[in-house]
Symmetry: C2
DNA sequence: TGCGCGCTCGTTGGATGCAAGAAAGCCCAG
DNA sequence: CTGGGCTTTCTTGCATCCAACGAGCGCGCA
C-alpha cells in the first residue's frame, strides 16, 4: 500500500540503509562506488544517488573527493543524538497520553505483551525486535504522522549503536519494567509523567553507551 | 570555519534550498532539470544530485518519472510539522533553562533586544530576521549540537509557510511579548515553564496558519 | 459528436566516458 | 637508512548519450 514503483536509486538506498541499520555495514566501513555498483549489477550513477541521499539522512558521510563511509559519530555527538532521541520519545509519549485511542491502546498492550514474552524467554534478538515495535507503536500513538516519521528516522540512525547494548547485564529485565511504566503513565493520561519516563528510558541507553564506546575501541576500522 | 571546498551538487543544493526557504521558489513550483541545468550552466547530473538530496530533507518532492516540485504539504501535515517544531522548541528551551551559560545568556539578551527594536520600529522584515536569530540562539543554548541542527532544519523547512504569517494584526507585538516570557522562564531556570511557553509560542503560529492556508487558495500553482 | 486508442514528443532514469584531485608508492638526495 | 618530492594510479565529479516511461494530442470509430 505504501510505495509506488521505485527507481533503482531508491531501492539501493533502502537496501544499503538496511545493511547499515542491521549491522552488516559497520560504522567506519568504506563505501566504494565502483564496488557497490558491481555488487548490485548497476552503474555508478544510481549508487551515487543513493549514497548522496543517505548522506543527507546522516547515516553515512561523504567527504568530497574522498568517498563515503558509514557514519561513526564521536562520543559527544552520539550522546547528543541519544538525548535528542529521548526528547522525541518524550514528545511522542506525551501526545500519546493525551490522545490515546482504543486502537492505539490495544496496539500498545499487544506490543508490551510481546516484549514481556521475549524478556521472559530470555530471547535477546526477539526482545530487540519487539522493543523496536513497542517504540514504533508509541510514535504512532502520538497521532502526529510527521513526528512519528522523525522519531523513526532517528531511531534507525541510532540502531547501529543501540544494537549492542542490550547485552548489558539484566538490561532486558530493566528495559521491560520501564516499558510497563511508560504504558501505565500513558493509560493514566499523565502527560508529564509519561514524558519523564520515556525520556529516562532512552537516556539510560545513552548512559550505558559510553562504556560501550570505550570498549569497542578501534576494531571497526577493519573491513 | 564550517565548510571545506564543496562540489557543485552541494552548492546547487544550498542555492536551491535558499531560494525555496526565501520564497523565490514557491510551494508547488515545478523544478525542471534541464531548465535548472541551463540556468546554472551545469549539466543535469549535479542538478539531479541536488534535487535528490533536497527530496530527502522534505523541501521538495520527486515523483518517479514525473519530476520534482517544491513541497506543498496539505494542511494536516503542516499542522503536524508545526506541532513537531513546537516540541523541538520546547526541548531546546527546557535544556537551555537547565544549562544556560553566561555566554548564551548574553546572546539571548542581545537577540531579545534586537527583536524589541525591530518590533518597536514596526519593521516587519527586520523583525522576521531577528525572530529567526532569536530562535536559533535558543537552539544553541540547549548546548546540544545535534538537537540544534534538527531544530534549524525543521525551521528552514517551515520557513516558506511561516514567512507570510507575521502580517496578521499585531502578531509582532504579541510575538515579542512571548519571546520575553520565554527568556524570563529560561533565566529563572524553570524547565517546565520554559517548555510550556516555547511550545505555546510556536503552536500559535500553527493555529494562525490554517486561516492562511484557506486564504492562499491555488495561486501558487503559477510559476 | 463523443469517446477510445495509438502515436509522438518531452522529460526523467541510467550508462558510459573523460578529466581532475587525492593517496600511495618510488626514487633520489642527504 | 631516512625524509622529501615527484609520479603513478585509483577514485570521484561531471558531462554526454541512449533508453524508457508518461503525457498530451489527434485520428478514427461508434
Amino acid at each position: 500500500m505504501t510505495h509506488a514503483p521505485m527507481n533503482r536509486a531508491q531501492r539501493l538506498r533502502l537496501t544499503i540503509e538496511d545493511e547499515i541499520v542491521n549491522g552488516v555495514l559497520r560504522p567506519g566501513a568504506r563505501l566504494d562506488e565502483a564496488q557497490l555498483a558491481e555488487r548490485f549489477g548497476v552503474s555508478r550513477t544510481p549508487i551515487r544517488e543513493a549514497l548522496l541521499q543517505l548522506a543527507v539522512t546522516g547515516l553515512i558521510e561523504v567527504k568530497p573527493r574522498r568517498g563515503a563511509v558509514v557514519s561513526m559519530p564521536d562520543p559527544t555527538r552520539l550522546l547528543e543524538m541519544f538525548e535528542t532521541m529521548a526528547e522525541l520519545e518524550a514528545s511522542c509519549g506525551r501526545l500519546a497520553a493525551r490522545r490515546l485511542t482504543p486502537e492505539h491502546q490495544a496496539a500498545l498492550a499487544a506490543a508490551l505483551e510481546a516484549c514481556r514474552a521475549a524478556a521472559e524467554a530470555g530471547d535477546l534478538a526477539e526482545y530487540y525486535a519487539e522493543n523496536t515495535v513497542f517504540h514504533a507503536v508509541i510514535y504512532r500513538a502520538s497521532r502526529n504522522g510527521f513526528l512519528c516519521e522523525q522519531a523513526l528516522a532517528l531511531s534507525r540512525r541510532l540502531a547501529p549503536f543501540r544494537r549492542i547494548q542490550l547485552r548489558a547485564r539484566n538490561r532486558v529485565g530493566q528495559s521491560f519494567a520501564e516499558h510497563a511504566g511508560i504504558v501505565e503513565a500513558i493509560l493514566s493520561g499523565d502527560e508529564a509523567e509519561t514524558a519523564a519516563r520515556a525520556r529516562a528510558h532512552v537516556l539510560v541507553q545513552g548512559d550505558r553507551f559510553s562504556d560501550l564506546i570505550l570498549s569497542l575501541g578501534r576494531d571497526d576500522a577493519a573491513a
